[in-house]
């Protein structure tokens, strides 16, 4: 079966530093693939390459078997890859509705912003994700971390993402909000969305992921089924960069 998303021999360097050095990964429909590694292991760079924010220096990206090249984040999003950045990438001065549609505003026949239609689409979506989310007309800077996360995740739902990249989605969230995000990830996965989950948090990895990939110094240490390994083995992969015997693919 063709993978939903495949990265082949991806390379990226910044001024002589090989941030991503020959990494290959694949992601199936509805799969949650955890991407692990120390800070500076290259995971965020790899995710930004997939998201179109950094061009590939070498290697290729395939979507449903077709090679794709993204010149900008807009290209990647148009192809159905939605990214939730660690810092959430929200315009703090705009309200949640404007942020949901940022860069993809609905417009009237005259080409003007269709605020009424955007609000009408956004409010029920936010309510579905978090019933307590009422202050949708306030600037997002005044929202809680969980509500901000809802705005970011809502983008993936509104625009029917096929691949979702989440960078530390539960960092800085309280227990209830973390549970809500976990629930959303499972729901999206059940709907067939492929999810790349970048995280440092072991409970997240074991609660959510089907497989995990570990990176160190820009290279892939190994990929394995989450059910086949325990936390110690994963930590050993991250810290020592050694794949345990059980790891095959």
């Amino acid at each position: 079966m063709t993978a939903l998303l495949e990265v082949r021999d991806a390379r990226k360097s910044f001024g002589g530093v090989h941030a991503v050095d020959g990494v290959s990964l694949s992601l199936a429909l509805g799969e949650v693939l955890a991407v692990l590694g120390h800070n500076g292991a290259g995971k965020s760079t790899l995710m930004q390459m997939i998201a179109g924010a950094h061009p590939f220096d070498g290697g290729e990206l395939l979507l449903s078997g077709q090679p794709v090249k993204f010149a900008s984040p807009a290209d990647s999003r148009a192809a159905g890859i939605e990214t939730i950045h660690q810092k959430l990438a929200l315009a703090d001065n705009l309200d949640s509705v404007a942020n949901l549609f940022l860069g993809r505003e609905l417009r009237t026949r005259l080409g003007l912003l269709d605020d009424a239609a955007m609000r009408a689409a956004a409010v029920p979506l936010f309510a579905r994700l978090n019933p307590n989310f009422k202050n949708t007309a306030d600037p997002v800077m005044s929202l809680s971390g969980g509500q901000r996360q809802v705005v970011a995740i809502a983008r993936a739902l509104q625009f029917k993402a096929r691949v979702l990249i989440m960078d530390e989605p539960c960092a800085a969230l309280g227990p209830a909000e973390t549970a809500m995000v976990h629930d959303l990830i499972r729901r999206l996965s059940a709907e067939g969305v492929g999810i790349l989950l970048v995280t440092h948090d072991m409970p997240d990895v074991f609660a959510l992921s089907h497989r995990l990939a570990v990176m160190k110094n820009g290279r892939l240490v190994g990929v394995c089924r989450t059910a086949d390994v325990n936390e110690d083995e994963v930590l050993a992969m991250i810290i020592a960069g050694k794949a345990p015997a059980a790891v095959s693919a």
Partner: protein, 380 residues
């Protein structure tokens, strides 16, 4: 009430208090004649400030607007007076020159990545030099009557009948827009605002607009058969403000300007063409400067190389007093109207009370500081 409308209400109250204070001191501040002069004096700064607001919202700055106004003004007047060009051709050339400068400065900051402060600081100096070079420092008088009318004065107003027509049309436009908005909301299945609030807004709009028309119509120059009505510089300024407010609120371009100001990285990641928007914004401000140069030239009856000297600071001050945050992302076009009027009111009011130029400058500088302090206190 949103943060922004609260802010506008406070500024409007401050303006009213300033006007009442000066009226109590001079007895002549709140006369139709003085108010007419006041808005005519404010229009040039006001036109540029409305564009400056969006520049600052997008985390940019433009220090070259005063010098550009000088260079464009002299260029247009010189083409007419010394080179014998027709008025439309000279105005088009002035606009073309301004847009070329806007494109150059915009590209340097948006594409090359230089801070706009540095780029336009260079422009401030160079363009003032260009203003001198174009006509070799000589004043270039202009004579075309309809062009001079744009500067206001005795023949530069709409008259009573024309002013009522414009006033009624504006009220109709505002109320019509309310109806359009309401329809869009109900079509989208959103809860509409209470009818009483809509009615209140419509009535307030009508009272403000028609009240202003009545005031300007009440100003009659000796020997004239009827009142002056709306001065043309005010009309130009008003069209600019309404147009830009609309662009800021209801177009993608406006939304992107605010998004870039709020978080440039988020804007880029959301697929917003940040560089293109910033260049467009620079072109927009340059076009407004060219328009303001026409009005300034018409007011002076000439183009001179010193036109617009120091204006960049008044314009930025008007934007800041009007609620534009220098750190970007917040502020409104409408606020700059109040900001510009507050500065001009204080300046003219102090002049009427015989305060020396030195003290006027001392006070105006601290008014700017006070406005920012006030902002900080309110936001804490």
């Amino acid at each position: 009430m949103s943060e922004q409308s609260k802010r506008l209400a406070v500024m409007a109250a401050a303006l009213v208090a300033i006007a009442l204070g000066f009226h109590a001191l001079t007895g002549s501040f709140l006369t139709a004649e003085n108010l007419s002069n006041l808005v005519q004096q404010t229009a040039v700064v006001g036109i540029v400030a409305s564009g400056m607001a969006l520049i600052i919202v997008a985390r940019q700055i433009d220090l070259a607007v005063g010098s550009l106004l000088g260079a464009v003004g002299v260029l247009m007047a010189w083409l007419q007076y010394t080179q014998g060009w027709s008025v439309p051709a000279s105005l088009a050339a002035g606009l073309g020159f301004a847009l070329a400068i806007g494109l150059f400065q915009g590209a340097l900051s948006a594409i090359v990545g230089l801070p706009s402060f540095v780029v336009t600081l260079g422009g401030l100096v160079s363009l003032r030099g260009a203003a001198f070079l174009i006509a070799d420092g000589k004043t270039q008088p202009i004579s075309e009557p309809w062009l001079l009318a744009l500067g206001g004065g005795m023949d530069g107003a709409l008259g009573e009948r024309g002013s009522w027509i414009v006033g009624v049309a504006l009220v109709a436009l505002c109320v019509g827009w309310q109806v359009v908005q309401r329809r869009a909301q109900s079509r989208a299945g959103l809860e509409a605002r209470a009818m009483s609030r809509e009615a209140l807004q419509a009535v307030l709009t009508a009272v403000a607009v028609l009240g202003a028309v009545a005031v300007f119509n009440a100003y009659r120059i000796e020997g004239q058969e009827q009142g002056q009505g709306l001065p043309l510089p005010l009309l130009v300024w008003g069209v600019v403000v309404l147009g830009l407010s609309f662009v800021a609120k209801h177009t993608r371009f406006g939304r992107y300007v605010y998004a870039i100001g709020g978080n440039p990285e988020a804007a880029r990641l959301a697929g917003i063409p940040v560089r293109r928007v910033l260049i467009q914004l620079n072109l927009l401000l340059a076009a407004l400067v060219a328009l303001a140069a026409v009005v300034a030239m018409a007011r002076l009856n000439a183009g001179t190389n010193s036109m617009g000297t120091g204006m960049e600071l008044t314009v930025i001050a008007a934007a800041v007093i009007g609620g534009v945050s220098l750190s970007g992302g917040s502020g409104s076009v409408a606020g700059t109207v109040l900001g510009a009027l507050i500065i001009q009111s204080i300046d003219s009011g102090l002049l009427l009370t015989d305060v020396s130029i030195g003290w006027r400058m001392v006070v105006l500088g601290q008014v700017l500081v006070a406005a920012v302090v006030f902002d900080r206190v309110v936001h804490k």
